[in-house]
Assembly symmetry: C3
């Protein structure tokens, strides 16, 4: 793909400053731009690169003032960051523009497929699956009996969805994610062995959710494990049975949520956080990476840190003292010595 | 599937109280029951739902007394929880009742397959593999050369088993789990590079083990990595080379065990626990989520917590003081000031 | 495979002491040796086993002195450990000696395949992929559009490589690893929802890298996520977008590196470590398992521990005091009481 500055300015409703016929064929950061690069400048911190970049074209805000000569062609737009994001998205759409049904794939005769599907080779779509329009099922995916997919669902290569799960519209699931594996439920027996508790519920993923690579979401024992509208899960996240992840909640990589816990809306969890089972986390809660949440959080919009998690500021303060604990202990030793002497004198 | 209250009472050896012909077609929690639901009541905490539930049928203990009118049909049995678990299990068995060999699959001519197999499309079964009876190999699984599977082994979609591994009877491995990948062994060279140490051992999984989704179990450098009889591993667990996991040991999600460590029987590890390499953990040890075990644990049946782990109660107490450390430090500052003054006076 | 002591001595340029015709057919640790085993002795700690082992042949150093009668055949070599490692490697090479292109596989007509490939059944190799010589692509792997592989690349079963990624020579990637999934980038909107930031960069894996099972490496937003020459990543590791992992850096299992962080050469990270985004870690840094690195580390070759990480020795010392914090608090309580009394007296 190759475009001229003029083409791009037309797409973005912008104006060209410089050579309108200069051609670009890839996107790059302004500091890494080379001949053929299209870049952007939005953050003033990066302005110095505007005067030194080798990018052929740079998108800037209309308001951008120039304090030195510029060797590149500029495209001025209302919002440079927004305009560039739009280009990124278009670029990606073109990159991921697969369609048709490849062979060999395994599609049960009972499957209902919406308009304009992509089904890659070695994909397996089982009995009574229903797929909406514009679904992209990449190679090696597995969709078990009775799964429902909405419109515009993308399953990247190797995603596995167990039976009865329900996936909404505009959902993206990255490679290797497992949806609907058994919850971890075992009843102890008198002889020390464990009996499996059958896990017959499902997973419900609502609209606009994104699930990261190799993330695992277990089916409910009964009922459903929920990932609500707009939630975003990073890679290698673990969601246990009967968990309920609130709308627009964001969970960073390697975090785990134990069974039956309910996260409110717009919660943000850092990476490697652990949340125990059977608790409720209030709306807008933010939890620092590597923290461990072991109790209900009822107050909305607060920040937490530490394992076990306490208030974020309190945790920061405690951490500082932890690093000088050996010294603190010495000071207490010293005080005890002095006191003993003072008492002797006093007697 | 649809059953009457009478059918179910017959299966469970129970007695019907109410309409024996009312029909149910799914299982639900008592608090979420609707027309057609079959529920149960075992925990007295949930008794109020018995009088308000919309479930068509509820299984209760023979001993259950009624303190208000009930609108649903009851089935009385000796042990309501046990009876319901039995139904869950039967339900699951029906759900997972796949059989036959689907095409295209790849089965080497030397493979020995037991009675009544299920081998899904895109499954790959390599040279000299031996499979017992009633094995279910879901689509996209890979079983390398010379692997042995016992009877009643279920590999959910996308499980990969490397060469020479041995899997016992009644083992369930969830999607995406990797059995027998190389142990992480590299010998440092003088120039800062590393040379791989070949990993030629295997993994031995004994009877009645369950392995969670996307869990990884590395093959031994030499000899075997063992997962002993009845052990249960959750999702995203990491078991390094030459580890030995004891009988009936239970490991929650995202926990990692470093190389050559030996866990005793009936150990329980919470989620996100780390255990260092080359240590031994005594029988019956319990470790709190997110803890880090860095030394041998020789005393049986004790609880541990913290990173590095100390006794559970000691850790709980230390955590409380950690949260008031800034205050403690201020108190020591104050004491030092007073002492300095007292000493001045004393001089 | 079966060899005589004489054959092996010839391969290793060693001398036989005992029966040159005794046959061995597998490798084993000296303490686990049985008839037909070939073992080695390098670590003096294991010398007692030399006199009791059932291994048929043991490789020892030329310098090894015998303090008791030996019942097994010895092969004496300059460096017993090195010689045995060589055998391990040869054994592994034979074990993994797959070749040819199996059917059904999916190979786009535009793909360029080097000499002596192995492409397993159900592997998917997409448009414009270029593969070097001696590549082994195991069953169920997926290689997206425009990916480049060097020579001697091994992708174990089920590896997924997203579009545009570049993999160097002599790279090994274990089962279930995901290369090039989208970075976790979402821009918050005023209504609490998030808009995806398209991730159009790639992943570049340089020569001699090994990547563990189910590890995830995200593509850059723009530009590249780098895994430099000779780096070794264990299982279930998370590498976020735009991260740069230095040459010969070693990362143990379940560790996660957040976005845009740069690790220097020969860094060593223990298991379950977390490193925040947008920082730089100096060459030769070593970080203890379960630590959390939250700031730039500029001094080379230092050891760190704790979450947040501080100097290793300081952390060890603080941990000791943490475990006696409840006692320390009591001592401060006691001091306060005494001081109050002393002050009373003084007044």
């Amino acid at each position: 793909m190759q475009f001229t500055a003029k083409d791009i300015a037309f797409m973005l409703n912008g104006t060209v400053e410089g050579d309108p016929l200069v051609a670009v064929n890839h996107l790059a950061k302004i500091e890494e731009g080379s001949t053929g690069s299209l870049s952007f400048l939005a953050n003033p911190k990066y302005e110095p690169y505007l005067y030194t970049t080798n990018a052929s074209v740079v998108i800037v805000n209309n308001s951008q003032e120039l304090t030195a000569p510029v060797n590149t062609t500029l495209i001025r737009v209302e919002n440079a960051y927004g305009a560039f994001s739009l280009l990124l998205e278009k670029y990606n759409t073109i990159k991921l523009n697969k369609s048709g049904i490849e062979q060999p794939s395994f599609i049960h005769s009972s499957v209902k497929i919406g308009a304009e599907p992509y089904i890659g080779a070695f994909a397996y779509i089982s009995q009574d699956v229903v797929m909406g329009d514009n679904c992209k099922i990449y190679p090696g995916c597995y969709i078990a009996d009775n799964v429902k997919l909405g419109n515009n669902v993308t399953l990247f290569p190797g995603v596995k969805v167990y039976f009865d799960c329900v996936i909404g519209n505009d959902v993206v699931i990255h490679s290797g994610a497992i949806i609907g594996s058994d919850g971890f439920g075992f009843a102890p027996n008198a002889d020390g062995t464990f009996s499996k508790v059958a896990q017959i519920g499902n997973v419900v993923i609502e609209d606009n959710v994104e699930v990261g690579a190799n993330t695992t979401i277990d089916r409910a024992t009964m009922g459903s494990t929920y990932i609500r509208k707009g939630a975003k899960l990073d890679n290698l996240v673990q969601i246990a049975h009967n968990v309920d992840i609130g709308q627009n909640t964001v969970i960073a990589a390697q975090t785990g949520i134990a069974g039956s816990t309910k996260l409110g809306e717009n919660v943000m969890l850092g990476g490697q956080v652990g949340v125990v089972g059977h608790i409720t986390i209030a709306k807008g809660t933010q939890v620092q990476a590597q923290s461990g949440v072991s109790r209900n959080i009822t107050e909305e919009g607060k920040k937490w840190a530490g394992s076990p998690a306490i208030g974020y500021t309190a945790d920061m303060r405690s951490n500082v003292v932890v690093s000088r604990l050996p010294e603190l202990e010495k000071r207490v030793n010293e005080l005890e010595k002095i006191i003993t002497e003072l008492k002797k004198k006093g007697d």
